[in-house]
Symmetry: C2
Subunit: 340 residues, 2 copies
Amino acid sequence: MNDTFLKACRGEDVPYTPVWLMRQAGRYMPEYREVRGTVDFLTLCKTPELAAKVSFQPVDILGVDAAILFSDILIPVEGMGMKIEFSEKHGPVLPEPVRNRALMEKLTVPVPEDELSFVLETIKILRAGLKVPLIGFSGAPFTLATYMIEGGSSKNFLNTKRMMYQNHGVFGGLMEKITDTVVAYLRAQIRAGAQAVQLFDTWAGVLGPEDFRAYALPWVKTVIKELKGEGVPIIYFVNGCAGLLKDIRNSGAQVIGIDWRVDIGEAVRKLGKKVSVQGNLDPCALLMPPDAMKERVRDILDKGRAARGHIFNLGHGVLPEIPVDNVKMLVDAVHELSGK
Amino acid sequence: MNDTFLKACRGEDVPYTPVWLMRQAGRYMPEYREVRGTVDFLTLCKTPELAAKVSFQPVDILGVDAAILFSDILIPVEGMGMKIEFSEKHGPVLPEPVRNRALMEKLTVPVPEDELSFVLETIKILRAGLKVPLIGFSGAPFTLATYMIEGGSSKNFLNTKRMMYQNHGVFGGLMEKITDTVVAYLRAQIRAGAQAVQLFDTWAGVLGPEDFRAYALPWVKTVIKELKGEGVPIIYFVNGCAGLLKDIRNSGAQVIGIDWRVDIGEAVRKLGKKVSVQGNLDPCALLMPPDAMKERVRDILDKGRAARGHIFNLGHGVLPEIPVDNVKMLVDAVHELSGK
C-alpha cells in the first residue's frame, strides 16, 4: 500500500511529494470517454461498477498517489430532493431553485445508506482494488447552496447574496440542512472505506472575507468538527482563496487545497505550520512546453517544502482539452523532481 | 470645481472620502434606460451627445465626486480593425478571434483622432459641463488580449494561455500592438480633457502571480510610463487582485483599484504608502438592509484611512438589478460617514 498521500496529509515524513489531480478521471482521458460513451453522466455516477472503473483509470494510467471517487459535487443535493439536469455543455441545471422558505422547508436530509447507497458501493469496489488511498468528497455547504439558490452556475451570485443579506432565516435554514446532509454523506463515505475526504468550495471565492466568515466558514467548521472523530484527514479546497487564507486557516481542516491564483509560498506563510497544503499548478500550465512546465513544478515543490506537508495538485480540475500525455508528464515530473 | 477625487488620487488632504462607482452610468438607472431605449449600445457609445448625456446622469442623480466617460473597454479593439458584436445578454462577441500570426499582423494601431474621434468629442462635451473631474479609461492590455484571442468572455481562458505558453512571438506581437493602441488612446483622451484615466484589468486575475508578472504587468508598466508625462493620475484596477497585490504595487500607477474579494486593510498593507487605493464594496452589498450596508461602508472607510489616499468605489461595476435608491444611499453614506 502506497500511503505517501496520507502521510503528507498528516504532516509526516515522506520519501517524495505525493500527487493526485482534481478531475483526474475525466473527459481528457480516452479510456474515460470510452466508458462515458455508453452511458449518460448521471448513470455513470450512479452505476458503482462504472464509477469505480473510471476512478481506477488515472491510478493505472498516470500513476498518481491517490484515487478519488468518481462522482459529482451535486449528488447529495439530488439526494435532498432537488431535480438536477446534468449537461456537460451548460453545466448543471436545477430547474426549481430554492428562493423561499416553503421550498427550503420541503428539502430533506437524505440517509446516505438509502438514497446515496450507489456511492458507498462504489467506494467498496474501489477499496477492494486500490493500492493507493481513496479520497471521498462532497461540495462544501456554501457551494452547494449557490447551485440550489441560483439554479445552476452563476456570474454574480446575486440570488445567493440577496438571500444571505435579506433573508437570514431561510438562508440559515438551508445551510443547516445542507450541512447535516454533507456530514451524513461524508461520514457514510468514510465508514464505507474513504481514507480521506475533500470538501470542494468551488464558489466560496466569490465572497469577500467578511461574508466568507459570516456565510460560508461556520458551516465548514461544523462539518469538519462533526467528522473529526472519524479519524481521516479532511481536505478543504477553496477556489479563489487568495483573499481568504487567514480565515481558511481556522477551518479545522488538516489539509488546505488552494487554487493557482496565489503564490503557494505566500499561502504557506499565511496558513501556518498546523496544516498541510495541497496545490497549486494552473490547470492551463499543462499546455506549457515540457521544460517550462517542469520549472513551474520545481518552483511549487520548493515552496511547498515550507509547509507541514505538501500534496501536489492542480489549482483546479484537469480540463477536457488537455492532452493526456502532458498530464502523465506532470505526474512523472512531480515524482522525479521530489525524489521518487 | 470639486477636486476631492483628484486630491485623493495624489494623496493630498481631503475634507471627506470621494466616491464614484464603476458602471455608475448603466442599466440600473431609469434615466439611462430611457436613452438606451432609443439606440443600440454601440450607437450610444459612438454618439457624443448621447454618451455625454448618460455620463452626466450619475453625477446629477447620485452626487458622485467624479464622472467617467461612458464607453466600452473594447472600443479601442474595434479601432484596431476587429469586428465586435455587442449583446447585453451574452456580452461582446468577436467573430474572428486572433489565434495566429497572420491575423495578429493584420491588426492596426488606430489614430484616436481619426478612428476614435467620437470618444474625444464626448470628453469635450463632458468637460464643458462637469463640476467634478472626468475619468477617461481603457481596457488594460492583457484584458483586451483575452477578448481578442478568445472571441469574447471565457471560462478558462485556454486559448489565451495556449498562445502565451506556446507562441511567445504572436502573443508578444499582439500585446505590443494593443499597448501602442492603449497608450495613444489614453493620451488622446487626456489631451481632449480627461483629468485621470483608469486601466481596467478585468481578467488579469485569472493569472497566477508568475504569469501576471510575465504576461500582463510588463505592458501595464509600459502604458503607465508612457503616460506619466501627461501629468494626470492613472488608476490601475485589477479584478481578482488578492493574490497579485505585491506585483501590482510595482505597476507605477498612482492609484490601485481593488475588487471586493480582499480585505482593504490587508490590501493597503501590501500596496504600501506610495499609492492611493480605490475600492472595494461588493457590488451585491447594495442589496443589504441600510444599516448593514452602512456598517460595511464604515469598515471600508476606516481601513482606507491607512492608505496614502482612498477613493471609495465598488469592487466591480454596479449590477443592472440594483435599485437606484440603494445606490444613492451608498453615495450618501460614504459622504456622511467620512465627514462631508
